[in-house]
Symmetry: C2
Subunit: 285 residues, 2 copies
């Protein structure tokens, strides 16, 4: 069955020969920024949909999975993160989740493309609802430079909530950037980065973990979770810790509202499928 | 971007306005059986692909997720299942996994459409590799009748590995069939049935669990796992137990080869996302 291009948005993931489509009612917006091409659609069943450079980024319906898993696991494992840096994350959904934690005194979102945030304010207002929190700070500058220039040992948690490792996000994957992050983190500090699909991108995931160890992180750990609109429908984030273990904490149950996350889900996300375990080692390495 | 119908197979999931496509090299086979329409494709990156009535059923690449999760969790939770009945499951992948358990003395696969198995033998020979096991028995008759007519309390485990609740599989969802299963199960016996997507089909899942309780099952429990080629990329199975609890067993680690399943993955699959917990209750009910 063919899909009518007027009523479906399709993301073709050519390197794995798969594609995912959502039925649309209308294209609400389209623009080319200095960094990327952004489209906003109104879909039939997924609410609003943001596309960047042809790739699905955020839908109203299923973004809770990604945003909760990019924030709560690392915050609960760390246990007392006060200063949090978000690189990318322009839709502000991760920032909103981070600010649900009372330990956090400062959450800086460094997104290179201000237009992503301005469009999120208009089309995904529920994601930007915490932007007025006095602990929140939004910067629209280069995240790589931000991390290079910040004070040594300043942050407790760095969240790399970026697009795929191509285009503006390419420099966020690999040893040079991880070295800057390691320097910017306090003792016991953590890094978490979206790391694509466990089914499709195990080579990339392995390379990321190797590079994280290479620059001095003590332990790394993969988190897996469903994400319907991303290639393969299954997604991951990779965590690394400076001087400390990545272990299930005694207290991982949220006192605030979530749609997906709870303490059992944290343990579930840390479970390694056998084919993953064989490649990146059991219990982190 | 549009998809060329000559080089892509697309399953449109109209009720949720999404579609999933795989790039194909060739259509290898197509036939209409007395029960359904079957197509076999050779894909670019997913190996062979079986389609029934327009819906993706099995791909070489990712069937390990589904088949391992339809078999090992229930077998390890039961702890000593000897007689296993598989309803549907004509590709024989679930049967192969069941036969990896030494406790199993008899595994009967009751598939209504013999052509599914004959095509699996040709195009997915790795899935049918255990069919010669002396404990295996293949029957090509109506599963509903099989369960109605079997001896009371005969089976330790019934696995309902069917297509979606429409067409030939419709009678496998709901209280009348579950009542037959309950009668056919021994004390402590278990039922596991594929139960569609946690993201898309929570109404169906809730109705299934309610019906399972209604006919006398003591406890039900949802298992969640990724399944790339099925709608939303996230899938589930629902378990029910006759006179007994559904709990993580002390011994759930396989002594045989698996690609996805291990004891941690069993615990992970049993973790309930918050939005699921609100609907079907924590820890089963």
């Amino acid at each position: 069955m063919g899909l009518d291009q007027d009523t479906w948005f399709t993301e073709v993931y050519d390197q794995e020969g798969s594609a995912f489509s959502l039925k649309i009612r209308a294209k609400l917006h389209e623009e080319t920024t200095p960094y990327q091409h952004i489209e906003i659609y109104d879909t039939e069943h997924f609410g609003k949909l943001m596309i960047i450079d042809g790739c699905t980024m955020v839908s109203t319906r299923d973004n809770f999975l990604y945003h909760e898993m990019m924030s709560h696991p690392a915050l609960f494992i760390h246990g007392n993160a006060k200063r949090v840096l978000i690189i990318g994350g322009g839709d502000c959904g991760t920032l909103r989740e981070v600010l649900k934690h009372d330990s956090v005194t400062e959450a800086v979102q460094v997104e290179i493309d201000e237009r992503v945030t301005r469009l999120a304010e208009k089309y995904f207002p529920e994601l930007t609802s915490a932007n007025d929190d006095p602990r929140a700070r939004l910067e629209f500058v280069d995240g790589i430079r931000w991390v290079e220039e910040c004070a040594v040992g300043y942050y407790d948690l760095i969240i790399i909530d970026s697009t795929d490792p191509a285009g503006p996000a390419e420099g966020l994957f690999g040893a040079p950037f991880y070295r800057s992050c390691h320097r910017a983190l306090a003792e016991g500090g953590m890094l978490i980065q979206q790391s694509e699909s466990p089914l499709y991108h195990l080579d990339l995931i392995e390379a990321m973990h190797t590079a994280m160890h290479e620059v001095g992180f003590d332990q790394t750990k993969l988190l897996c979770f469903p994400q319907c609109i991303y290639p393969s429908g299954w997604w991951s984030a990779s965590m690394a810790r400076k001087q400390g273990r990545i272990e299930l904490p005694d207290n991982a149950e949220p006192t605030f509202e979530t749609e997906y996350y709870n303490a059992d889900i944290l343990a579930a996300a840390m479970a390694e499928p056998n084919f993953v375990r064989r490649r990146i080692g059991s219990g982190g390495r």
